[in-house]
Symmetry: C5
Subunit: 311 residues, 5 copies
């Protein structure tokens, strides 16, 4: 995520960090060069004048507006739903830690070997956030999971494909043990179980967004229309605009391709590119909240943006 104020004045046009220009300059260059060539030949292709006016572009503008508006909205909806889901995870993690500390009673003395269940559960909740992030980013979660889990749990999870799901199963087992030992009754257990279910739900919904792109045919139809539009545009404008044609075509192409590329980027918001969600910072936030609840000592510090960028 880019974190910065809006640049003002001339800098507005010169800022490159966070601009979509770096992703679309090739298409933009091709379109503009084409427009220059069309302008130089006066709208003729192989000595044959192409008889286009502005009217076809007004007509083609109708479906294009529908496509671009739809694409824009659906991409942002996915982005914002992704953000909400991670916000939900923050909420549920905080509630989970409060519940573990207030709803689970002390262990009976003869079960001391069981270890400190609430602490173990809360550490596992931190691990869940990290594991989910790495699961969504197809990256390796070892560095963060290992210190949070007991040695044998770590050994088991190393081999598992779906690490977040495994952690939740272990939560269930610990809860069962607490119920058997009388540390929670079934009502409070059901409350904690509901929080676990909500965490599972947030995680699975993230996977849904990741695994189900906007239907490919939509994207294909949109791309084709947008490119055709921009490639043909100089022929329709050259008669009235003359030497300003490439300039206008460049601006129009910049907005169309920019909107399209932006959609590509935030449609799958769990990656690490400039406009994606700062999952690392969110996980760190969860870790800080939960470790503070446990009154731990070496609490990590929040991430700060590097070059306006938070990953």
């Amino acid at each position: 995520m880019i974190v910065r104020d809006r640049p003002s004045g001339l800098r507005l046009f010169l800022t490159m960090r966070g601009s979509i220009l770096s992703r679309i300059w090739k298409s933009l260059l091709v379109t503009t060069v084409l427009a220059i060539m069309v302008t130089l030949t006066g709208g003729a292709l192989m000595h044959h004048k192409i008889t286009l006016t502005a009217i076809p572009f007004t007509l083609m503008g109708l479906p294009l507006a529908i496509f671009l508006g739809f694409r824009n909205n659906s991409a942002y909806d996915r982005y914002w739903e992704g953000r909400k889901l991670w916000g939900e995870l923050v909420i549920r993690s905080r509630n989970f830690s409060r519940q573990c500390l207030s709803l689970i009673g002390p262990a009976s003395p003869d079960k001391a070997g069981d270890g400190d269940v609430p602490t173990r559960m809360i550490h596992r909740a931190i691990a869940f956030a990290h594991a989910l992030r790495h699961h969504l980013r197809d990256s390796d979660s070892s560095a963060e999971l290992k210190p949070l889990l007991a040695a044998d749990e770590w050994r088991q999870i190393e081999k598992v494909s779906h690490k977040p799901h495994f952690l939740m199963e272990r939560m269930g087992e610990d809860l069962r043990r607490c119920l058997n030992d009388g540390r929670v009754d079934s009502v409070l257990m059901a409350s904690i179980d509901a929080t676990l279910s909500a965490m599972v739900a947030a995680g699975a919904a993230c996977e849904r967004i990741k695994n189900t792109p906007v239907p490919f045919s939509y994207t294909l139809l949109l791309h084709r229309t947008a490119y055709l539009y921009c490639f043909l545009l100089p022929f329709g404008l050259v008669d009235t605009l003359g030497f300003m044609t490439p300039f206008v075509v460049g601006i129009v192409a910049y907005t169309f391709f920019g909107l399209d590329a932006l959609g590509d980027e935030i449609e799958e918001p769990f990656g690490v590119s400039a406009n994606d969600l700062p999952l690392e910072a969110i996980c760190r936030g969860i870790e800080i909240n939960l470790r503070e609840s446990l009154a731990e000592e070496n609490i990590p510090r929040p991430f700060t943006p590097v070059d306006y960028h938070l990953t």
Copy 2:
């Protein structure tokens, strides 16, 4: 579902897999041929000049934009709701397996004949996903259900029309037996029952989408307007565009018919055509998650796209 990256460069225009072109080429051909004929006769029909300009198309564009935008949004909303419902099923199935394993206590020794209830319930949850998929696709679920169910349960379900509903009733019976035997108390039973209710809800909502299309009159009105628009368009353009008329009409018709055909396809997202939801892959995912929870041995592998296509 088509799973592939966006083709770049010239291939963008040549890709046929996942393109909607295969569904609309007939209408497109008719329209273009008509436009060619109109161009050749200079806009006359039976030696009578048809006096149309671009203005009527701007006016007709208004209701058409409303229709197409509405159609586009409602079709995608149905698609995405369908996807959410199956995501919900994934979530609930995972929660259900965790609950079965952690909330249901061990059987008392004298009830050993009852079999392993949690395993039976989790297998039935896998069967529910498969049965629902086949119910939505009007296909035969025998191959997948038979190995998952006990012999007598299989015999009973064979004759039932609504298989998912039947499976849920059996879940209820098993739960009741657990309650009677003291393996769950009523609080935990209510928690599991709530998960069952959510699975029923997801299934029934899928049926709702399948059984209630967008009102037929909408579709009819949209089709008529779009076809009339494209058939009349050459008369309005030929005076200003000349020989480029068929080309422009072809592009406009491609976007209108394409948007329309795409709507037809994803409006009912549970089928098996190119842009429909990959229910088979989702069911397989549920099966993998749940069998891993049971620590089973021969866990099937996830589906991979065939020719970019996941069913």
Copy 3:
């Protein structure tokens, strides 16, 4: 609800079943005749040339697009919300039957006179769906309710104005009796009560849709604008389009009036006109599901469309 595939080819334009044409032909005729008269007089009214061009219609198009788009969306939202509510009723009825059969314990022998409570409750749930449908359609529910209810319950309900509400009160009384007799404990009773509450909620939300139309002033403003637009249109087109004017005006009027009439029809989706919801078929579906749960013998068959129409 009209259930049919999209007609293709020429039949697309000739289909009358499900078309909105039957509702708007009068207005359409008036508009077209007016346009013909304007064409014949060359845009003059009482020998006075009306100086209109296409520009006013572009300007008026702006608010009209907002009105029509809004009307279209709000009408469809009401339709789809109505459908969701009945889907909710399907879901809750299935859950209710599963809960009655699995959560309510057997009667103690000394209470045998009470009758078979689960069966009575499930029959009452079927009656609730029928009663709600008739309540929304202001029709008579006697034929369907009488066989489903006990004789004295039938006698009581006959006099009640809000029959669905009465049935739910009886559900509550039966549940109370089960609680007193120890057939359910309070936890399971609360679960069943929550299902009843959800059924009440679905019913009352249907009443809300029925009783609260889109504000009348909206509809009035939209109608006036649309009619003025279409009546004035020929004056603005006749100078450029000549004898094609009535044809173009006819098409534009067809889309505007059609969209408007469609909105009128589906805005209140619980009626019996062509595009309304098939409540009868949905109620039948609930009846089949619930009677199958009770393993009854003479289960009615699902409704099938008559002349593509499902009521």
Copy 4:
């Protein structure tokens, strides 16, 4: 709320009841008179020809469409959310009465002095609806509250500023007493408490809508743009439309001002103007439902529209 069928034929244009015309006729008159003056002077202001064409209005139409569309949607969303909240109150009131009658056990004989708790609670629920309505309309609720409450409760509530909140606190106290006396156990009490919470939620959400208008700057920006647009419009049209200018300006201004005034009216839907919600009729409906549940005798009759108007 205006309750009437759409007038057809010429009456469509003559109907004044429910029309927005009565609110905007002043602005409309000013605009039209201005347009007539501009037409008479041929678009000159102080002998200086104002060189405007239709183009600026096309450009200004873009932001105006965004403003008006946004205003329209947000106002209707507020209206419809308000309606949903009162629908929610209807639902919860019905559920509350069912729960009071079925979940609360009989009083023990030695507590007979406590009075009939379920009846008292249900009467208080009716009072809650009335109190909320008067709270939202800043009117006096004495006439309706006094007969519904016990004498000392009435004396207390008279002095309280937030009457609905006070009633809910009293509900909580009565519930507590029932719990102490063993008339409900904590599970059933939690169910009833959840219903109370939902009623509080509906009430507070209504207050939110009432207290938070659409940001003032939006409204200001919209008004200014719409007025500027309509005041300048005659200068842009007079050269092409001639004597038809005032007529066209009048129609355009009617739609813009009408849409705007309608937004003002339904944006705050709890008032008593023509298009506001019929809170009185809804409260009466709740009263009828709840009194029927108690099998009371003198049940009031539902409100019917007066001059098509339901308050």
Copy 5:
């Protein structure tokens, strides 16, 4: 938040309070001066005529409409979601106070040293609202928190970074103590815990809105397009509009820049600028409600707008 009626007549154009003009006058001035210069030179730049017509602006209007519409909707959605979240906090605080007073039983005599738990909890709920507000506004909460908390609790919270989270943890501890002392059973405790969870959720969702702006690239793309549009516009208009050009450019720029600046302001609705949410007044409202529940004496008075402004 600006609280005032719409000014009518000429005052509509002169009102500055609540107008967005104070934020955009610089850009507006630059644009208008530029337009005047273009008008004076007749559209030439360095003696070179810039050949632009209105057509490019129609084409550029398409993506601009998508951007502005999107920006407008997403900014308002964030504003309204923020308002809903604080409304949720109002609701939950009221429910929380009712639950504390009705669900928590009296202390046993030997625990009298514990203090009055319900009062302490309700005071803490008031503190939670204040702490959340200051957390969102990065301001100092000492003045309001200190009198509401016990001396040692205040000493602890002073050092904590996330004060709302800390308060919730303390709520959990108090609840646990009540459970241990038998003042609530686990069912009622679960109900109160659910209310706490909902308060945490509202708070964390506010943080989500605060920390996640609309993707920077969107804003950048929109700004660039809007500025380019307005800077180029005079070249396209000067040939047809002549001396009216700067006037028209000024109006168009006013709407575009105004819409944009408004978006900037309400996109992060928790600040203290003119159109932000009146969090102080809402917190005060919560304080009044909760102190009235405790029947306290010196209840503060609601805030009233200062110069139409409520913070």
